[in-house]
């Protein structure tokens, strides 16, 4: 039998382990999403976006970033302890990351702005690609974390219920 083939007992022990071991995988995925979000906004604000967007949009994006990071951090702590409802929160903020690709980066991509009579490209191809990658990875991490947490929480609930029935 291959070493990687899991027996029914292995799966049962894995479920039982969840009673005592923190859901680190989901939590770490949230941190990964946070990290790539940081990469994204550092990249974005290094561009000349202030001359292209209205200031209120910049302000809104900064506030969204702060709120996003707060929510993801709180969710990371909650999923660590198998809180099922935070799967929905992570799913929503994950989808929002995808939406964000079409808000600033896509609109800034190859757009030009005239600053002191010089025409500048707000976001070149390479920068745009990086921004999409950062937001994409961040979104993927959050959505995967949401799905994984939901699956694990459901399995744990069923396992605990079965233990209760046995007892």
């Amino acid at each position: 039998m291959s070493k990687n083939v899991k027996t029914a007992e292995d799966r049962l022990i894995e479920r039982d382990r969840m009673r005592f071991v923190k859901n680190s995988a989901c939590s770490n995925l949230c941190y990964l999403a946070l990290l790539f979000n940081v990469f994204y906004f550092v990249l974005l604000y290094r561009q000349d976006v202030a001359n292209y967007y209205y200031n209120i949009q910049i302000g809104a994006s900064i506030i969204y970033n702060l709120v996003f990071m707060l929510i993801v951090f709180m969710s990371s702590e909650s999923v660590k302890h198998y809180h099922k409802n935070y799967s929905y929160v992570l799913l929503v903020v994950g989808l929002m990351q995808i939406v964000r690709i079409f808000v600033m980066p896509t609109r800034a991509h190859n757009a030009t702005v005239v600053v002191e009579e010089v025409t500048k490209v707000v976001m070149d191809n390479w920068t745009y690609t990086k921004a999409v990658i950062y937001l994409g990875v961040s979104a993927a991490a959050l959505i995967y974390s949401a799905v994984l947490n939901y699956t694990r929480c459901t399995a744990l609930e069923a396992h605990v219920k079965s233990l209760g029935e046995k007892a």
Binding site: D10, I13, D16, R17, F20, V21
Partner: protein, 356 residues
């Protein structure tokens, strides 16, 4: 299977202070050995040398016949339980117990099985998700033991594990350690300065003083046939009474003391006619009757027993542990007979056992 052999072990520190002198001991598989002695006698140093936390200056340490004198602590396959538990405060009990196995990168499922099994043995199953700060001292010490059990070591080492617990908890945890030993049948070395722990736990006791082994034997041997004055005085509570006496004919005579010898005792002291010896009498070997006449200085009722303290002729001090509830008043005259005597050579302080 784990047999431990300590052969001519010395511990000499860099400042030339010698803490342990020529320590010899063979520990059988599954045996619980208790190292007992007053503070500074070298018992913890000996344990730390066995664990590999201290270098062995001279001698050899063998585990199952293999010389491990120079083997690093991590490779000795021994687990140590400390007085202060040494638990990680930020980890749950489960994580604390699993920690050493996680470091060894063992399969998480195997770790889980081992932790649950150890928790079941120690009655910690319902506490696994708690942090150490949420547990009582006794429970924390059980966690420390659990952390050792999951490793399945060849030898368990306990360094005064009950010293931080209150008296009631100490008794309960002591019984748990005994049950644990019976269940695991593991080789254990246990250090304590508490003779009650030593007498109740040990298969054999090693009594130490000033870095020297004074006696190795079963608890009964140490209590009933102490090899010397030190062991006689250390084992037993209250301690043994000692009197300087001279062997004169069929009796022992001393300052205010005159005790008759039985023919057997006379035979034991055959070579000591006219010489001074030390007479030892355990408090519980005194009984109300003809013999020592003392003026009572204190009467302590312990429920089942009464401790009577008195002073005899010539200022001889007597501590007697009498059965039942007694009501001596200070200044009363009490008379005690002796049920059992111990004799010690005055010069060497060794026990006199005659030709036996």
């Amino acid at each position: 299977m784990a047999e431990l052999s300590l052969q001519h072990i010395d511990k000499i520190y860099d400042n030339n202070v010698q803490a342990v002198f020529d320590f010899n001991l063979d520990v059988k598989d599954g045996e619980l050995i208790v190292l007992v002695g007053p503070s500074g006698c070298g018992k913890s140093t000996t344990l730390r040398m066995v664990a590999g936390l201290e270098d062995i200056s001279n001698g050899h340490l063998l585990l199952d016949g293999k010389d491990i004198t120079q083997t690093p602590a991590k490779d000795r396959d021994m687990a140590m339980v400390f007085q202060n538990y040494a638990l990680y405060g930020h980890m749950t009990i489960y994580e604390n117990m699993a920690f050493s196995l996680t470091l060894r990168k063992e399969n998480p499922n195997v770790i889980h099985k081992k932790v649950l099994a150890a928790a079941e043995i120690l009655g910690l199953t319902s506490q696994l998700n708690k942090k150490p700060a949420q547990l009582s001292g006794g429970q924390r010490q059980r966690v420390a033991m659990g952390r050792s059990i999951v490793r399945n070591p060849k030898v368990f080492l306990f360094d005064e594990p009950l010293s931080n617990l209150d008296a009631k908890l100490r008794g309960a945890t002591r019984r748990e350690i005994l049950l644990l030993h019976k269940r695991l049948q593991a080789t254990m070395l246990y250090v304590t300065h508490d003779q009650t722990e030593a007498l109740t736990l040990a298969d054999r006791i090693v009594c130490m003083s000033m870095g020297h082994v004074q006696q190795v034997g079963t608890p009964l041997e140490l209590y009933d046939s102490p090899d010397n004055v030190f062991v006689a005085s250390f084992i037993g509570l209250p301690p043994m009474n000692f009197y300087d006496v001279k062997v004169v004919g069929n009796e022992l005579q001393g300052n205010g003391i005159k005790v008759a010898l039985t023919p057997e005792e006379k035979k034991t002291l055959a070579g000591y006619e006219g010489k001074e010896i030390t007479l030892g009498v355990r408090p519980e070997n005194f009984t109300e009757g003809e013999g020592f006449k003392v003026s009572v200085t204190n009467n302590e009722n312990l429920g089942m027993n009464t401790l009577v303290y008195g002073t005899g002729e010539g200022g001889v001090k007597v501590t007697a542990k009498l059965k039942g509830w007694k009501n001596y008043k200070v200044g009363d005259t009490a008379s005690f007979g002796i049920l059992r005597k111990h004799f010690f050579d005055k010069e060497t302080t060794n026990a006199i056992r005659g030709d036996k």
